[in-house]
């Protein structure tokens, strides 16, 4: 099964190069044609004179990339950290890719080498001639958490003009169904669909692979654990009793540990908030090459917000992207908490949420969290379906605990009081209610405030969003639900079905 991974690299940019690089990236990002390439004449004037290629038709041919799901360049402007110290500008380059990293980098260089060189020539240092490969790899940063909405599917499997993507298969099947007369029975429909596939020349029925299952929720695992415990209880009752007592003690210790940890965070929070204000009062807004006002405080900078919103809902796409950067609150305690929470999110994201939903959110293709600038800032990249408003709504309605858990460790986040002593009991209740699928899940939450302060949280998110100058999606017309549904269609096409299964499969078409 192809493995999807995240590549992130950060490159320092000198102040005097910020403006010209921004201009070039804007030109690249705004001139991606329908054929998914960037023409030379749109960017020529913005390139350093040594790197201009006279007569070149194409600057960047995104459509030739076969390993890339999503790709972005974002310029992070100079800023101040939570303690008022300066952070220099940098360029972030990120891809969600298939297969081994080496092959991916090789393809990038082969397909877009001169363009990469031209863009990175604004960074400090610029890549040496012919050394792009090591240049990219040396700048790579590891993530704290990474999530995939349709794990195990390659770009080629999801989307492609050639006759082997699942989207092509779905279309071919649709055509088979659309002719008249309408199929009268399920068997009739299936026979017709199999015929249609034969005629369409669709090739790779076997690529779909087996569906991934949450690897902790497996019933047999829990049954065997239960059986072993039961065995112990029968064979060695006293030992079992000791074990039970030890578990209760451990649970109490855990509640105490998490409780005191949370209490300390609450105390720190009060101090941090006054400090955040003081730093702002003393330093004024962070430096901004545009001369516009600080976007980190309120929506005073309407202009910046318009740049961000104008990059959203582009024509011909149903997807959107987000780049979000925010200062981590000062102190080791905060950083440690953040790391633990992100580790947990990464764990859940790679083991439990492997069927298209993060928590209950069914619209995220890829998301990642990275600590940057010596752990002083948290960078978040996301490729999601539909509008920002719906994405944020899903965050708040379906995943506020995770978000609050992460971002309450960053500055200016809507006030969060951690219910320190209740975290573990509430978490247990949450797990139990999810397992049994009964009761009102919305009533059980770890945190009551934070991201649940709907309007404030949305404002805060906007305040810390950064324009993503260049953004490319390999399959801009497919939602996460579409991708996963099309895989189900491919998997079920030649599989034997019982009556009810057949009905369910036909409904996916």
């Amino acid at each position: 099964m192809p493995d999807q991974s995240a590549f992130t690299a950060l490159f320092p940019v000198k102040d005097e190069n910020v403006k010209p690089l921004q201009a070039l990236l804007n030109a690249v990002g705004q001139n991606i044609t329908k054929e998914r390439e960037v023409l030379m004449d749109k960017v020529e004037g913005l390139l350093p004179s040594t790197l201009r290629q006279p007569g070149g038709r194409c600057f960047l041919e995104f459509h030739k990339l076969t390993t890339v799901h999503f790709l972005r360049w974002v310029l992070l402007e100079p800023a101040l950290d939570a303690e008022g110290k300066r952070i220099d500008a940098s360029l972030a380059f990120a891809t969600d890719y298939d297969g081994p990293l080496n092959a991916h980098i090789d393809e990038l260089i082969e397909t877009a080498g001169p363009a990469l060189e031209a863009i990175f020539s604004f960074c400090d240092p610029a890549p040496a001639t012919g050394a792009l490969r090591s240049y990219l790899l040396e700048a790579q940063r590891s993530y704290e958490a990474f999530y995939r909405g349709h794990p195990g599917r390659s770009v080629q499997q999801i989307w492609g003009d050639s006759n082997n993507s699942e989207e092509e298969l779905r279309k071919a099947l649709g055509k088979g169904l659309d002719g008249s007369p309408q199929p009268a029975t399920s068997e009739d429909a299936v026979a017709r669909l199999r015929r249609a596939v034969g005629q369409s020349g669709w090739k790779s029925a076997s690529t779909a692979g087996e569906p991934q299952k949450p690897s902790l929720g497996s019933r047999s695992l829990w049954l065997s654990v239960g059986a072993i415990l039961l065995l112990f209880a029968i064979l060695a009752p006293s030992w079992f009793l000791r074990c039970a007592v030890a578990s209760v003690v451990a649970l109490i210790l855990l509640i105490l540990l998490v409780g005191s940890w949370g209490t300390i965070l609450n105390l720190l929070d009060r101090r941090d908030q006054t400090r955040e204000r003081r730093v702002l009062d003393r330093q004024g807004p962070p430096p901004d090459p545009d001369g516009s006002e600080d976007p980190y405080v309120s929506d005073r900078s309407r202009r910046r917000l318009m740049i961000v919103t104008d990059l959203e809902n582009r024509r011909g796409l149903i997807q959107n992207q987000m780049t979000h950067v925010v200062n981590v609150k000062p102190g080791k305690m905060r950083l440690r908490t953040l790391r633990i929470v992100l580790w947990a999110i990464n764990f859940l994201g790679s083991r439990i949420f492997v069927q298209g939903k993060l928590g209950d959110i069914p619209t995220i293709h890829f998301a990642r969290w990275i600590l940057i600038d010596d752990n002083r800032r948290l960078l978040f990249f996301s490729n999601y379906d539909f509008s920002w408003e719906s994405y944020l709504g899903d965050f708040i309605d379906l995943a506020s605990d995770g978000l609050t858990g992460i971002w309450c460790n960053t500055t200016f986040f809507p006030q969060t009081r951690i219910p320190a002593w209740m975290i573990i009991p509430r978490a247990l209740r949450l797990v139990l209610s999810t397992q049994s699928r009964t009761g009102n899940q919305s009533a059980t939450r770890l945190f009551e405030q934070g991201a649940r302060r709907e309007q404030e949280f949305k404002k805060w998110t906007r305040d810390h969003q950064v324009p993503t100058q260049v953004w490319y999606s390999a399959y801009p017309l497919l939602s996460v639900v579409n991708v996963n549904n099309s895989t189900d269609i491919a998997r079920g096409l030649f599989a034997p079905h019982s009556g009810a299964e057949l009905g369910a499969w036909l409904r996916k078409l």
Binding site: I318, D360, G393, Q441, E454, L509
Partner: protein, 492 residues
Amino acid sequence: MRLSGASGVELSDIQGLVQRGYKELPAAEYILLQVTDVPRARAWLSKLADRIEPATATGHDKADRASALHLALTYQGLQALGVSKELLDKFPLAFREGMATLHRERLLGDRGASSAANWRWGSAPCQPNADEEGLCETDPALHLMLLMYAKDGPTLSRIKKSVLDELDISGLHTITGLDTVFLAGPECDPTGSPNGPKEHFGFRDGIAQPHIAGMPSREDGHAIPGNIIPTGEILLGYANAYGEMPEGPTDANGQGFGRNGTFLVFRQLHQDVVGFWNYVARQAADKGYGPVELAAKMVGRWPDGTPLVESPTGPKSTLQTHDRFVYAGHHSHPDPFGLHCPIGSHIRRTNPRDSLNEDPQRSLELSNQHRIIRRGRSYGTPLVADMDPTKLMAASEDHAERGLHFICLNAAIDRQFEFVQNLWANNPKFGGLYDDPDPLIGVLDGERATFTVQKDPVRCTYADMPRFVQVRGGAYFFLPGITAIRTLGTMK
């Protein structure tokens, strides 16, 4: 003294339009105004405030009511009347920016003939680099809208004259008047059916409305728990679905200029009635549905209003204004897969009720975070006088301008109106579909749209569905509380 509802909702300060749509007052006109002389406009507002109809304690009107009057203002209108910058900055961004920014045009699908540059009235497109102040100023600038309702045409003319002349409107310039028409189909009681007349495509309109907590309504007897939304979902100054005060010029206790106000979204929607019925007649030929049946599948109700989920095989006169239903968890015909009422039908997408995700109860809660109160009226002569679908289908193109003056009320434009238009109506991926926008009001980017009808053993699709509705004008207004209108009148 203020008249308050059961839960402290200040009825006597809330404009009555929030509570009721004046179906018994079939004549209506909307007048768009520009402030030209600020002191005189303020004096006029002071007098007007006394004539604005408040909400009532029962939701019923006086039996002899002959007219009603309401006032709404744009952001530019508030600016022109001298509202302080401090107060203005508290209004939500969507209202401040207006409907016609590049960002909102994309969200709402206002492109091509529907793009704001081609509107007959409303705000001009904003440029990303426009100055902080005076964004999107048009000439003439749209500042105020008067909404007038009357029991008949002569009464309406008299009201109009009295408001415009006797109140000395010389501080204001009339930009345009928007006429309306009451389309009573064969099933509708022409003297004022309580539950909605028809719209130009021939379907009964305006049936499903949420109940505002604490607001008495004459449909109270029919209110079901799943259809009651917190007061702050519509009115500023009260707690919303998240238990917070809606963004606006009120303090943490909900007091202040914004209290008892709401945001009024106005869109003039042109309807291509001939195009709609031609498409339906052409498509219906070979897939087993008659034209009216296919049209009903697209709408989710039969032309007389009967919901498909209740009665999939044909209309039932007892169910014409029926609204007490859900989809997935329906008590007698559960329809989680859209076999009765298609997933992509207009009424199922614009209010998905309990069918948004796998958990019906949670779905209902989430759907209710995006409700709007609809108060629109049709305009233009109907293609066929009695709105009979068969005759509509047979009628030939007359190129007349007709459509709907869509009006809705909500406290958070971005989370309610814009969300519904963008994520539920325009989104071709709604409910796991691939290329299906809302068949009536949706807009699909790029290629042409399809409509899918779920059925046994497998769905059928109707391809190449054109756009039947175009936007002719629009703006975001604030519909203030009556005290706030008085404040505007006396503002210095």
